[in-house]
Each structure stands twice: as C-alpha cells, then as structure tokens.
C-alpha cells in the first residue's frame, strides 16, 4: 500500500496536492468544489484590507506553453471574505489564508483576521509580479520582509508561509531572511514576470501590459528555485509552478518540496486534476517501490 499523506511542519495533509492561490477561490462554493475534487489543502485568493477590483480585461490569456495573467489582486476585502471562509466546513482539508499588503501593520491585521475566521495557516503573498506597492516589491526587500514576518509571527499562533518570486536575484538571501524571521514554510514559486504582444494591433494583450507566466513552461524555473531553497533553509517548502501531472509533482518533491500547489492545470485538466494527480503519484510510487511521500522528498540531493 502506498501512503500519500504528507506534512508541512505542524499541518497534516491527506495528499500533497494543494489548490494554489488565485485559482477557483473567490467564494466558499468554488473552494468546496476544489475540496470535492480531491485537493489536500486549499489556499485562498490573496486578500487585502480593502476591496479591490483588479485590472480591466484581458486579465488571462493562453500562450503556447502556459498562461499569462494580470488579475491585479481582485478581492472583496478581508471583512467580506471572512464570510466565505466561515462557510467552509472541513476537518481534513486545511484552509490556508493568503494575504497581501504593503507593510507590517497591514499584514498583521490581515493575519489576525484570518486566524479569527478559522484558517489553519496564513500565506504571505510577497511575490505577485504585477501589483504596484505589493507583492514582488515587498518580497525583494529583505529588511521590510523581515519586519513583516516578525510582526505577523508575534501576533498570531498559526503557521506562517511566505510565497516567493522567481524574479529576484537574491533568492538565497531572501529565503534565509524568511527562515531567520521565524516563518514556518516557503512557497515557491509565484508567476514569472512576462508579456505578450498582439502583432496586428501592436499592443500588449493584457490590459496591464505586464503579467505573470504560469503553467508548463515555468516548471523548470520552479524546480530550480525549490532545489536552491532546499539547500539554503531547513523549513518546509511547498513547490508550485507548472505542475500538471503526477510526475511533475514527484519532480518537485524530489527537489525538496513537502507538498505542491496546482493552479494553471485546473485549466488544462479541469477541476478533477487533484484526483488525477494523486492517482498518478500512487501509480508511480507503486511501480517504483516507494511507500511514503517522505522517501521522495529531497531524493535528488546526493
């Protein structure tokens, strides 16, 4: 029998496939559907202090080997979103609250509210590549990042995960900072900053012009980041970026991830992608004589 349960620090997951932030998670109903579809954990969309409409359309387009998006962090604000979180009743599938802000006091306020609404952990989005003053702008500044994580950690009891961007030159320094500040896990990676131009109208297609690339094309970038992070820190890593099949997930586990998140593959394979990937992981483990996920995590370090 193969056992695909895993843990991220103190969090236990029935399986290693988590729903990535910003995918099918605007309301309780869609998150319930992802739970029904077999996700081992759910990450909410990134929520801020105030409602935000996001950018005009086009916000998501398909490219040859992935998706390009600039949603612009649309969300109803933490107070309204709290109603959605409170509606989710699960015992076995942890709900992780993703939050974005520009500074420590705002992040702390959001984290406290998330804790109050009943999530199992919070994920700090400091890696969105297309939102001014937020995301990547915060996540590439080690001093600010340290301050944010310390403050959040001091005010909540839940595990704190930090989601990093592949678009930083000082990844080792940043992940070291994240560990030193007391975070409980690192999520890697967010989308890769990118652009697509329509030849006939000679315009960038996304209304925001720049966006974030996701899906198959970014998997090698994610694998490299997870591998490097695993060499640098001891806290658990959650791998994300281009995971479409069970084999992709296993590659991330071998690179050092304890669990994985899945976003764009919900488009490529439908919401049932979680069941499918878990089945593919089991089949591969059986064939290759693995019985637990732990045996695979970090298997590439030799």
């Amino acid at each position: 029998m193969v056992d695909i349960r895993t843990t991220i620090g103190s969090l236990s997951l029935q399986n290693p496939t988590m729903l990535a932030s910003g995918i099918m998670d605007e309301d309780a109903g869609s998150m319930h559907r992802m739970i029904d579809s077999g996700a081992g954990a759910i990450v909410t969309k990134s929520i801020g202090t105030h409602p935000r409409e996001g950018y005009a359309n086009p916000t998501v387009i398909e490219l040859d080997h992935g998706l390009l998006n600039a949603m612009g962090l649309p969300n109803p604000g933490i107070d309204q979103y709290g109603e959605e979180i409170k509606k989710i009743k699960t015992t076995k599938v942890p709900l992780i609250g993703s939050i974005y802000a520009a500074d420590a006091p705002e992040f702390t306020l959001l984290a406290q509210k998330m804790q109050h609404y009943g999530v199992s952990a919070v994920e700090l989005n400091v890696s969105c590549p297309h939102a001014k003053h937020y995301g990547l702008e915060v996540g590439s500044d080690p001093v600010l990042l340290h301050d944010i994580i310390r403050n959040v950690k001091n005010h909540i009891t839940l595990p704190v995960f930090v989601k990093v961007s592949p678009n930083i030159m000082n990844l080792s320094e940043i992940v070291q900072t994240i560990e030193d500040a007391g975070a409980n896990g690192i999520v890697a990676i967010n989308t890769v900053k990118a652009m697509a131009i329509d030849l006939q109208t000679k315009r960038p297609i996304l209304a925001n012009k720049t966006g974030g690339y996701s899906g198959k094309a970014i998997k090698p970038i994610g694998i490299r980041c997870v591998y490097d992070i695993a060499q640098t820190v001891d806290i658990p890593i959650i791998g994300v970026g281009g995971i479409t099949t069970g084999l992709d997930a296993i590659e991330y586990l071998m690179a050092g991830a304890s669990a994985v998140q899945i976003g764009s593959a919900v488009y490529y394979r439908g919401p049932e992608v979680f069941h499918l990937i878990c089945q593919e992981i089991r089949t591969w483990m059986k064939k290759n004589k693995y019985t637990t996920i732990t045996e695979i995590i970090g298997a590439s370090f030799q």
Binding site: I23, E26, D27, M34, I61, M71, P74, A196, D198
Partner: protein, 259 residues
Amino acid sequence: MNRPVITTILTSKIEAPNIKTITFRSPGKVTPGQYFMIWIPGVDEIPMSVSQITPTVIGITFRKVGDATNALFQLQNGAQIGIRGPLGNGFTLTGKHLLFVGGGTGIGMLTPLVEQARKKKLTTTVILGVQTKEQLFFQHRFQRTGATVLVSTDDGSMGYKGFASELAKDVLAKERIDAVYTCGPEQMMTALLSLCKNIPFQASLERYMKCAIGICGQCCVGRGLRVCVDGPIFDGNTLKKIEDFGSYHRDAAGRKIRF
C-alpha cells in the same frame, strides 16, 4: 488557443435605441447559447452571446451600458476587434412544442436557437418582453421563422401589459409546452423557473467574467459552477440548487450584489 484573435467588423446595424448588432467572420462551429469574449483593444474584453449564426458569419447584439459597450458601439465597419471563442456550453433542444422567453437584451441570443428549432420543424412560441415598445427588436426575425411571436411591455405600449413571465404563465396554462428556454433579467428567469414545475428548463446566466476559461473563480455560482465554462446555460434542476440564482451576483472585486 484561448487568446483574442483580431478580426474585422463586417456589418453593423442599430436595432433599437442603444442596441446594435455587429458581425464578424465565423471562426468555426458555433452553437446557440455560446458566447465570445470581445476585446476592444485599449478598453476591455467583455462577454457577448451570439445572436446570429451562419456558416460564414457570426453576429452579436448588445446594449450600450458602460465604457466597453460604448466603445464597441462607436466602432465602424472595418474596425478591428479581438474575439476569443466560441466559449461556454450552449443550449440543447428537447421536445416538440417549445416556449422561448427573452427579456430585454436577452432577446438577441435566443434568436439563433429559435431559428434552429424552426429548422427542425418544432412548434415554437416566443415571448419577447421589453419595458416599452421602442426597445423591441428582432420581432420580424422571429416572425420570419414561422414562430408564434407574443410581445409584452411593462407599460402596455404594445402587446400584453406586464412582465414576460406573467404572459408565460398564461401560455403555460393554455398550451402543452415540452420545454422552456430563457435569457433575460434574472428575476424574470427565477419567476419562470418557478412556473415550470416538471417542464425541462434552460436559462442563460450572466456573471462578471474575467478569465472565461474556468480558473479565476470570478463567475462562480452555487458549489463552484463556472458560468464561463460549465455554463452559461444551466438547466432547471441545477438552477434550483444554486442559492445565488435570482438573489445575488458578484462585482469585479467579488463583492456580493443583490439583484
């Protein structure tokens, strides 16, 4: 590939004050009830159901309500827009005597479905509901198909005075209707659904859309049903389980807005 493809506006026609039809070359097979994301470069990309289907040409009929529809309204023949689609599931016809109820702009997208029903020689009754007679459009297109066409106006300026759903109640009482198809204001559609006890029912839903490929979650109703890919057409049994139906939708920020 789910990204806008540039096409040219072939024809445009004002149907009623603030309502216009534009056509473009058909990108392939399109089913009544499906929609396109229409990109007005530099402005927005918005969903529009098809109101005309021929082997070579597709039409959309829209009302001017805000920035994007205003910009689209201004465009002349030959102007370039981006189209992405056809998207969504489309209607399926069942039964022999069918009732179609269109309210306001929703009238437009029912036209190709009624044309399809008539081609299959089905008995077809159409109710067109508008606030006042000036807003009526496509009446002749429906009549040309050989359908029985009834009109309701809120102010009584033409046809039945009252809501389309009230007129539908009379029709359902008098005739043996096998299935009901509708698009219009959601309250009209919920009223209709409650009249259709065991009669198969299909309605076209509108929700704010962003990705239109089923990942961003913006358009979801009920337990994660995506209007953009699982819909926009839903049947009566599904709609009865969706608590949002007729009660609220969400704006671009995801805030609940009551109808």
